[in-house]
Symmetry: C2
């Protein structure tokens, strides 16, 4: 029995791989696929593969009758998809479709865990977003994720896959370097100052965000492997609602005024427009009832970063 992680070389893919290897989920192979050769993991069950999923036939070559779960994490992130229109559609929509087709033809009923995003929402939103809120993306990335959700739903309805589309909160604190997600600065507000580096905040302090730590998202991914039949349902993963100002207050408490002083405000209306179009608060009830979890407080998110990323790396 095989588990596949696309984007398996990325930070979330690597964390998910580690967690699966130490979990009670049973499998004989864990295949990590990425556009760059994924970092190898010291477990005989792990196989790493460098592959371009947009190339013809690649998706079909990966998935076979023994595939049980596909975690489809590979994506072009929001600002990148806004800048490179073609690439965004190819990776975020067409590759998802190729993988779904491959699953359908390999063995109907493969659990297909698709990572969607808050970016499916946009424009005027109700104070509390819930499952009945219409998807109104205001970025190509959001449109691609919303369309891929519809694909996952339809393939599931037809019985071709057993799909789940998980809408991830903004992940904080993401280790490593800034990326081309519009939300990249969110992690930078904590990650850089705690390591003695300057960072830029492109939005105002009252911007409200919906956040999850990487560890919590990975816990929720593990549940997604074993959850009862998915019916293609889209699920807003639980998060916590925090303003940028509250994040900076927590940073000051942990890192002192010196850390806080490393945050410089340089407004970027394009970034603010995209991130402010995402909901800052979502009704958690349905996801919680299914067993999905959220972090406790933003302070605990910082603690998690220090424990799992700063100290392990040092």
């Amino acid at each position: 029995m095989q588990i596949i992680i696309t984007g398996g070389g990325g930070f979330l893919g690597q964390k998910l791989a580690h967690a699966l290897l130490h979990s009670s989920v049973a499998f004989s192979e864990l295949l990590l696929v990425d556009i760059q050769q994924p970092h190898p993991l010291a477990d005989p069950r792990v196989r790493c593969l460098q592959a371009d999923l947009t190339a013809p036939g690649v998706a079909a070559s990966l998935i076979s009758e023994r595939t049980a779960v596909v975690y489809h994490l590979a994506a072009i992130v929001s600002s990148h998809a806004e800048q490179d229109f073609e690439l965004g559609w190819q990776v975020n929509l067409d590759t998802t479709r190729s993988l779904l087709e491959a699953c359908r033809h390999a063995r109907p009923g493969i659990r297909f865990v698709f990572t969607s995003s808050l970016a499916v929402y946009g424009g005027p939103l109700p104070a509390l977003v819930d499952d009945a809120t219409a998807l109104t993306p205001t970025s190509s990335y959001g449109a691609q994720k919303a369309m891929a959700e519809l694909l996952v739903n339809d393939y599931s309805r037809k019985g071709y896959v057993d799909g789940l589309a998980l809408r991830l909160p903004t992940i904080c604190v993401r280790p490593g370097k800034p990326n081309r997600a519009a939300s990249s600065f969110v992690s930078g507000l904590i990650r850089e100052p705690l390591q003695g580096e300057q960072t830029i905040c492109p939005v105002s302090t009252d911007l409200r965000l919906w956040l999850s730590s990487p560890a919590t998202v990975v816990s929720n991914f593990l549940l997604a492997a074993t959850l009862a039949k998915g019916d293609g349902r889209s699920i807003n993963l639980p998060g916590i609602s925090v303003t940028v100002g509250e994040m900076l207050d927590a940073l000051t408490q942990v890192g002192g005024q010196a850390a806080r002083d490393r945050v410089q405000f340089v407004a970027d209306p394009a970034i603010e427009r995209i991130v402010a179009s995402w909901p800052g608060r979502i009704d958690n009830q349905r996801a919680s009832a299914l067993g999905f979890v959220a972090d406790g407080t933003f302070a605990s998110i910082i603690d998690s970063f220090i424990t799992h990323d700063l100290q392990e790396a040092s």
Copy 2:
């Protein structure tokens, strides 16, 4: 200045073509494209083209700098798309995308009128569906239409086209023969009995439908050519809310008990499931404010059929 109608050989495309030729909309060419050679119209502005829009390069070959409006009516209808999964995606999603790409590269800002459907809705719905209602299709056709709407919206947001996605009510009375739409029976309930033929009703009399006559839809299409900048908005076209029982009462009034007796009830749970998943009533306010119109009563819909289709044909 050119107007293009895909599906221009279909009954709605032909009615739209006639209406455009007799309207105040200014154009030098009206290009009717269809998979079968469209019926020619006696006007020097009309050009008819048999073409398969799913073939590579065809969409791009149609659209040029002089194209002002594209009415994209070509589609695989609901039951057909449910039976032929691949063909549905090719025609209803991929062709829409090819046309949008062709518009983008020919001249940004072409008015792109996409015909969407009630089938973007499904499952448990609020008593009154409005623009804030989430799209939850329960058929491949509905998923394809919902995804194409998202495409039209994103291409419009980027300024590549000036798009409008019009969600059509169920059209009644559709002249001609039954087709492979799940809603095909709706027109059959009136069309066949008024012409002395038997027809089958596969649903219960309390099923509520959201209807528009072809003439009213065509009026709304004309408005869509000249409406102020679209911003890719999705619009639920106005309709009237009528139960199957109310339709049959109107049939009896017009055609007498003899006409009513030509309707035989043979339940088809698959059809009932699809059609019952569509809203039977939609908030008209936004569409009405934009100038879109509905029929007065179901009796007037029957009158329209007798005047425009039965008498013109005879």
